[in-house]
Symmetry: C2
């Protein structure tokens, strides 16, 4: 079954997922962030079929997310290392980690604890923040169409569009606080 | 073809992807964050096959990420709204957006601009931050096994494990700064 491609979509999320959104790919990248470089390491740790792993590594290399080079200690072997583009996926991997630890916890406690190498302090969960450092939830951010938006994106981002949550409807007090027109 | 499940893995990323990692799912959630609630809205905007969309919405509802209820204005229609668990995926969606805008930009400029509703200022890209607000890259964070780690996770997080980037190898100056053993 051929999966539909997101390559032509006018959407940053779709473009990202086109490169890293296939089943297994983000787990492979997480392992790279943990220091894995070799085909056999990925295969053994993830218990992934060789043909699938080869396919995913080739796509990540072609996309410029991983760099493939001969291993220093064995010219016949290859190492896969995160490029600058790949390392820039770190907030994605950590946001996925944070959500999983919070919503699908292990009964014995955290599987992974992230600490600041500088001082050993825990690294807080990733949040969306304002310029002045406040954590912003989805209701506190407005998504506006930019110059690269096409018709579909403009439709999606109509001025009325707001996230529609069950637990956190936009409080009416917020609406009242909007500046009255002069 | 039956896709392998990540349900039994001792890994927060895998547990998250088990719920939101299928092709299409994160795009559906992005649309929910933009205010979409109806089956037809998702289908028309995403141009997704009805059976695939129905499958994804059912899984998200079962997982507790979306809540399905009768629409207020039409008892025969359903609305899908983000639950608290679903809204907590906001940093994931924005991190994916940030990466796509940066690494796969549209030639005409940003497709979407995120602004703080409070003051209209741009919302900076999501980063991993320390307790005191410093942005941390992958080399500045140590992943330690927690009480929920199994043998495989312990192997992955050996004390020597570090991300292995092409562009940003761990600078040797950092290694020297490590405290000498007494």
């Amino acid at each position: 079954m051929k999966k539909s491609s997101f390559a032509d979509r006018n959407c940053a999320v779709a473009q990202t997922l086109e490169r890293v959104g296939e089943w297994w790919t983000l787990l492979i990248l997480q392992n790279a962030f943990c220091g894995m470089t070799r085909f056999d390491q990925f295969r053994n740790h993830l218990d992934i079929a060789s043909n699938v792993l080869a396919n995913r590594l080739a796509k990540l290399t072609k996309a410029g997310i991983l760099d493939r080079r001969s291993a220093d200690d064995d010219g016949r072997a290859y190492e896969y290392r995160l490029t600058k583009m790949g390392l820039d996926l770190y907030p994605v991997i950590i946001a996925l980690t944070n959500w999983g630890e919070r919503w699908v916890p292990d009964p014995k406690g955290p599987r992974i604890k992230l600490v600041d190498r500088k001082n050993g302090k825990p690294v807080p969960a990733v949040t969306v923040r304002s310029m002045d450092g406040r954590t912003l939830n989805a209701f506190e951010v407005r998504a506006l169409a930019g110059p690269g938006a096409d018709r579909k994106t403009l439709e999606l981002l109509s001025p009325r569009s707001r996230p529609t949550g069950v637990q956190f409807p936009v409080p009416s007090s917020k609406r009242k606080k909007a500046k009255p027109r002069a």
